[in-house]
């Protein structure tokens, strides 16, 4: 029974923790402009993240070390440094976007200007990273993130023409007034949002923090292969709600407040309140995960002590990185830069950095020296190679599409 509850809790937190500010904004933008014609990108992205999260989780469970702890050792310091710089820059950008996202969410609740909230939010994130237990942080925020299931209820309550939505999805029916270049740009952005590099940083390092062993692989796989796809369902529901309510009115999403409007239309005050709880939990949880991921990646590359289960005075440099990255996030956000713009940039640059994150995972998960009998089989390698090709195409296309479409405008 205890095992059952552990698995259920893992699945629920995987669902609740799946969506972050990038998913919220990008799915709403795409839904409002392109209906469900890009829904297949979410599905491909979710399958991709499942494949690589499983690999990185397996590496953590078998070797007792996080994937990126092994990258430098396996691929050498030069490749490790390129990997660190590319992936960490994107994770830092995502961290800034998440803190901005928490501030924007709280602004919707309190009507206090987000700039006044940023230092408070950053302090709160740092305090959680410093003091809260890893499991408490992950479980509480993951469970609260389940509030975003309100989008599934809202979509059902809105009573859309399901066959029309299904047609948009299956026939990839792009609206006539949008061009294919912009459509491709949003496809790449959506893919970047679904496969954000920090998710595997955090997943594999979290596995080490929670002392996974080879016997935990089955539980880990259940969490990944059930929790992540159900989390993807939340993304599709957000896009669906935007497609039904905002799309017909020619509303293009450029603020977080617009993302929750369909829920208010469908479910009124109670639904909106639940959605706002979900916004705060999802962005706060992701802020903690990205903050930790920045610390994890730097500490693992330089071989410092790291992790929340290590006493802060023993992992002083790891905690110093957390403090400095939090201060940097505050500094950037206080320049009055629009957090939504930072979010849009972070998902596109995520797509650019994807090969730097996922190629080393495929290499390490194939290494018999580390993995023994748990090394990748044919299926894992086939899927890994397929998604790596997709990732490389998305990475190469991201910057040209961003320039040609002026960030999808």
């Amino acid at each position: 029974m205890k095992k059952f509850f552990a698995v259920a809790l893992g699945i629920l937190t995987a669902i609740g923790g799946f969506v972050d500010i990038g998913d919220l904004v990008t799915n709403a933008q795409v839904g409002a402009r392109f209906g469900l014609s890009l829904a297949w990108v979410v599905i491909v992205g979710v399958l991709g993240i499942c494949v690589f999260a499983e690999m990185s989780g397996r590496v953590a469970a078998v070797s007792g070390r996080a994937t990126f702890d092994l990258v430098r050792e396996r691929l050498g310091p030069r490749m490790g440094l390129i990997n660190l710089l590319g992936s960490m820059a994107v994770t830092l950008l995502t961290f800034i976007a998440e803190i901005g996202g928490v501030a924007l969410s709280l602004e919707l609740v309190s009507s206090v200007n987000e700039l006044l909230l940023v230092p408070f939010v950053a302090f709160l994130v740092w305090a959680v990273l410093w003091r809260a237990r890893f499991s408490v942080m992950e479980n509480v925020l993951g469970l609260l993130g389940l509030a975003l299931l309100v989008y599934v209820v809202a979509l059902w309550k809105l009573g859309p023409n399901w066959s029309d939505l299904a047609h948009q999805w299956v026939a990839v029916a792009k609206p006539g007034d949008e061009d294919w270049m912009t459509w491709c740009y949003y496809a790449v952005a959506l893919f970047g949002a679904a496969m954000t590099p920090y998710e595997v940083f955090f997943f594999s390092s979290g596995g080490v923090e929670e002392k996974w062993r080879p016997q935990d692989i089955a539980t880990m796989r259940t969490n990944v292969f059930i929790g992540f796809p159900l989390g993807g369902l939340l993304s599709l529901s957000i896009a669906g709600c935007a497609a039904v309510v905002l799309g017909p009115l020619d509303i293009t999403v450029d603020s977080l407040g617009q993302v929750a409007l369909p829920v208010a239309v469908a479910l009124g005050k109670v639904g909106l309140a639940v959605a706002l709880v979900g916004f705060v939990a999802a962005t706060f949880g992701a802020a903690c995960e990205t903050g930790l991921s920045v610390g994890y990646s730097i500490a693992q590359y330089f071989g410092w002590q790291w992790g929340k289960y290590v006493r802060p005075d023993v992992a002083a440099r790891f905690h110093l990185v957390l403090v400095l990255s939090t201060l940097l996030a505050v500094g950037v956000l206080m320049t009055t830069v629009d957090p939504i713009l930072v979010t849009e940039a972070s998902v596109v640059f995520s797509a650019v950095a994807l090969p730097l994150t996922y190629f080393p995972i495929l290499v390490v998960a194939n290494d018999q020296d580390y993995m023994g009998t748990h090394a990748n089989g044919r299926l894992a390698n086939g899927l890994g190679t397929f998604f790596l090709v997709v990732i490389v195409v998305a990475a190469l296309a991201a910057i040209p599409l961003m320039a040609l479409t002026r960030m999808g405008s």
């Binding site: 309190s110 020619d250 409007l261 208010a264 239309v265």
Partner: protein, 161 residues
């Protein structure tokens, strides 16, 4: 090569002078409004009108739902404030441009409509902020009128490109 009287070689002095002239030119053009060609103007106008349609439609939806008491706290005021800011940016994006000669006749009509739209959103935000239901209903009417005009203009601009 003989040293320049200020201690630089002539070649270096020329490069420095060239860089200074370039910087002055860049600074002087930076102070003037941007002057796009007809195609650039058309593109900027279409983008501004599309953005404004989105903000006015967001505002109208927000006020309507607010009248049905579907929001918590001051959510509607926050959404309207963001729409107001975005509408201001959309209006500025064309009003600060130097229109090409062929577009001058339509310049006043375009900037006037964008200005009216921004004002309609401001009126809606003020009405909702004050909790004045009558004014809010009036704002919905104004937003609907300006939205209809914007949609006609958006279609015309899209057909022209």
């Amino acid at each position: 090569m003989a040293p320049h009287r200020f201690g630089y070689t002539g070649d270096v002095a020329k490069r420095l002078a060239g860089a200074l002239v370039g910087a002055v030119l860049l600074a002087s053009t930076g102070c003037r409004p941007s002057a796009p060609d007809q195609q650039g103007w058309q593109s900027a106008a279409e983008q501004a009108v599309t953005d404004m349609v989105s903000e006015v439609a967001t505002s109208r939806l927000t006020v309507r739902q607010g009248l049905l008491h579907r929001f918590v706290g001051r959510y509607s005021v926050v959404v309207l404030t963001y729409s107001e800011e975005a509408a201001g940016k959309a209006a500025d994006s064309v009003s600060t441009l130097q229109p090409p000669p062929a577009a001058r006749p339509s310049y006043d009509a375009l900037t006037g409509l964008l200005s009216d739209a921004t004002e309609a959103i401001s009126s809606a935000r003020i009405a909702v902020g004050a909790g004045d239901a009558e004014q809010a209903r009036q704002a919905v009417t104004e937003l609907s009128q300006v939205l209809a005009k914007l949609r006609v203009l958006a279609d015309r601009l899209q057909a022209a490109t």
